[in-house]
């Protein structure tokens, strides 16, 4: 096996691929993304971490201070308000302990001290509020610094790992809800790679099998396959994706299954629980299943067409005739002689489909039809655009999403170009 792999690396095509520097850099980039995705799948960044509010709204990246107006907003926004609310509760001490903003906790002081700090902060706030335009009033700057220092007294000191984690999650700032842009952007890598891999694998397998069968058997098999793919490809791709994705919004698979099995809605909870466990965690609404389905239905067409054409050529090769005269079954000939000889096309199509799926996922999510309940670059771009933040200079969210996506798509484009050059030089 290892020997076969090393001899594969020594083939002319692989030598050509390996001598392509850009492709090798792209490969390293892709490997990084994939490793990151695997790490996230193993729990390096949880979905909860992406939804946790870690700081004030729209913090700029790299701990930039921003304009005085922004600094005022940031200082007074989350912690001060939360602390004030907690102080009005029946048991302020308990309520204060509950406050959690990412890694930030309220410092472990008596309630009276906290109350004093909040009052002090409010006094400075009132003074600051007298100014019409903070940005244009340099005299207010010392007051602003005082406010920031006062609010900071509310924080329990962080150290070690907590501190690193908190700083890291604020590295690229926060979004409109105060969630970490870095964490959300990185988590989207996993979503993108996951959708890309699943869709590309499924499409390539389906397309290769159908295409090879259509090309090899000809006749009615060919007619059926060609009819299906011409029908599918006559529907505008994105429209079909939108329709399928839309059909799934509000679809609750578990409820449907319960209905199919005839379990009444008011049946004992243990019965419902068992059935629920049987299809454990099939939360279709928030899963990626609709996306997979929508992509799976359309993405195999290109591969199918290419493999069918190649099979039409290959089946007239004499080694296929030789296999037929030897008496091999059609199935054997397809699997052992035809499909392996389309491997180069399958490889190229796989990498093209992967980019296609990632880009389509972002578009669908941007339209609000793709990924739900978890971060995605599409959702990040939409969130950033919706609030006019980009225009007012808050580029961190859209920037993170687009840069991460740009690097991945560019790397894959370079790689599939290189693959095409190396394995399919006749292709224009």
């Amino acid at each position: 096996m290892i020997q076969r792999f090393t001899s594969f690396l020594q083939t002319r095509e692989m030598r050509k691929l390996r001598s392509n520097k850009a492709a090798m850099i792209a490969l390293v980039a892709i490997a990084t993304y994939v490793l990151l995705a695997v790490a996230i799948m193993c729990g390096a960044i949880t979905r909860d971490a992406c939804d946790t509010v870690v700081g004030a709204n729209k913090l700029p990246g790299f701990f930039a201070k921003g304009s005085p107006e922004q600094r005022y907003e940031i200082a007074t926004a989350k912690i001060l308000k939360m602390t004030q609310t907690a102080l009005t509760q029946d048991d302020p001490a308990e309520a204060l302990k509950e406050i959690k903003l990412g890694q930030i906790r309220i410092s472990d002081q008596p309630v009276e001290n906290i109350q004093a700090i909040v009052d002090a902060a409010n006094r400075i706030k009132d003074e600051l509020n007298k100014s019409d335009d903070l940005d244009a009033d340099p005299a207010m700057l010392p007051k602003l610094i005082e406010l920031e220092a006062t609010v900071a007294q509310l924080h329990a000191p962080m150290n070690g790992w907590d501190r690193t984690r908190h700083n890291a999650s604020l590295l690229l700032g926060t979004d409109i809800q105060g969630r970490s842009i870095l964490l959300r952007g990185l988590y989207s890598v996993k979503i993108a790679i996951q959708i890309g891999l699943v869709t590309a694998t499924f499409s390539v397998i389906l397309g290769a099998l159908l295409g090879a069968a259509a090309g090899y058997f000809g006749g009615w098999v060919d007619h059926v396959v060609v009819w299906i793919y011409t029908t599918f490809s006559s529907i505008p791709n994105l429209v079909l994706l939108v329709v399928i994705a839309y059909a799934f919004t509000g679809f609750d698979l578990e409820e449907r299954l319960l209905a199919i099995f005839g379990v009444p809605a008011d049946s004992p909870s243990s019965l419902r629980g068992t059935i629920g466990k049987l299809f454990g965690g099939l939360d279709v609404k928030n899963s990626l299943l609709p996306v997979y389905l929508a992509f799976g239905a359309t993405f195999w067409i290109g591969t199918c067409r290419v493999i069918r054409g190649e099979t039409l050529k290959l089946k007239e090769m004499e080694y296929i005739h030789a296999a037929r005269t030897a008496g091999f079954s059609s199935f054997h000939i397809l699997l052992r002689h035809i499909i392996p000889n389309t491997a180069h096309l399958i490889l190229i199509n796989f990498s093209l489909l992967l980019i296609g799926a990632i880009k389509s996922e972002v578009i669908l999510s941007f339209l609000g039809l793709g990924v739900k309940g978890q971060p995605s670059w599409g959702i990040m771009i939409r969130d950033a655009g919706n609030n006019g933040d980009v225009v007012s200079g808050f580029f961190w969210e859209i920037g993170t999403a687009t840069v991460l996506m740009f690097v991945l798509v560019l790397a894959f484009n370079i790689l599939s170009d290189a693959l095409q050059d190396a394995f399919d030089p006749k292709h224009v």
Partner: protein, 335 residues
């Protein structure tokens, strides 16, 4: 053309030693077109051909490109399903057998292909390609597999350590040897060699031909040898068929063919071969014109459009293959 319509007295003299008997074999390729994808024309690739091959004999099939000689070979081995007629192999009519029924027969008949560059799967090592066929037909057990493959490679003049190589690591002649080894792997009785040397270098041609000849004698093979090269056929075969536009125009033993050939087409083929001795050069027959389209062959004799001795009769009536003694049959009104 159905068998009953055939006016040819084409049943060759039957001997009980016949291994392959081909009777009135017809292969048409339909050409489809038009809005309903209907058959709009037919290529008459093989037209009502009958002959037999005796056990241990080598029969040559010669003709220019497009005359249907390869199609004939492929129809016999059922790579093409014949339009009509029958092929009897070792007493069994294999014309209408299913794939599964054919499998044991395919062990007995194998094919060597023309183009060594496309006759081997580029993604399979020699060993994998051979093992696949041996395993399918259970020729030897798994334990003997290795030594059997080694003996096959030695037999066709390859080295034992060529076993793990991929086709692209071989020269054309070596690839053809692998192709021969693959055909021999199932220990067949009958081999169809479809222009086995025409894609090879002249110096390699002789080596491969000699190999085939040795193997034929050693393993007592029966061969159908398809070629466009009369010299090769003359050198290699016991008898030969000359084909023109899907029809057999002459069938003769390969002895002194220059003197005994009777059909004007065979004569023209012989004349086109350069002869090194100036004294032996006969009159040069140069054929005029082109081979007619196989979509619309002439009504009478297929050769009529280019025949130097054609008469009015040839325009309308297709001459049958007539016996001229000594297994020599000619399809011509004028000889």
């Amino acid at each position: 053309m159905s068998q009953s319509e055939s006016h040819h007295a084409s049943n060759p003299p039957t001997t009980d030693k016949a291994l392959v008997k081909v009777t009135n074999l017809v292969k048409h390729f339909p050409k489809r077109g038009g809005i309903f994808n209907q058959v709009i024309a037919k290529v008459h690739a093989v037209n009502d051909v009958s002959f037999e091959i005796r056990k241990g004999e080598t029969l040559g099939v010669v003709g220019e490109s497009g005359c249907g000689k390869s199609t004939l070979g492929k129809a016999i081995i059922r790579l093409h399903d014949p339009t009509s007629g029958s092929v009897i192999f070792d007493g069994v009519d294999i014309t209408h057998l299913s794939r599964a029924q054919l499998r044991p027969i395919r062990r007995q008949m194998q094919m060597i292909f023309q183009d060594p560059n496309s006759s081997l799967n580029p993604r399979m090592t020699v060993e994998a390609a051979l093992r696949e066929v041996i395993r399918l037909h259970k020729i030897v057990s798994e334990t003997e597999m290795r030594s059997y493959i080694d003996s096959l490679l030695t037999k066709v003049g390859l080295r034992i350590d060529d076993r793990g190589k991929y086709p692209h690591e071989f020269s054309g002649g070596q690839k053809q040897r692998v192709g021969i080894a693959r055909a021999l792997a199932v220990k067949p009785q009958f081999i169809i060699a479809d222009e086995p040397v025409s894609a090879l270098d002249v110096s390699i041609q002789a080596q491969v031909l000699n190999l085939l000849m040795d193997l034929k004698n050693e393993l007592q093979l029966t061969l159908l040898f398809v070629s466009h090269d009369l010299k090769v056929i003359d050198h290699f075969c016991d008898r030969m068929l000359v084909m023109y536009l899907g029809n057999v125009v002459e069938e003769m033993p390969c002895q002194d063919i220059h003197a005994t050939a009777k059909h004007p087409y065979t004569k023209a083929l012989l004349a086109s071969n350069p002869i090194t001795d100036p004294d032996q050069r006969g009159e040069l027959v140069v054929l005029e014109g082109e081979v007619p389209s196989p979509y619309s062959p002439p009504a009478g004799c297929p050769f009529v459009t280019r025949c130097p001795i054609a008469t009015d009769r040839c325009q309308t009536e297709n001459p049958p293959l007539e016996d001229h003694g000594d297994g020599h049959r000619v399809a011509c009104w004028e000889v």
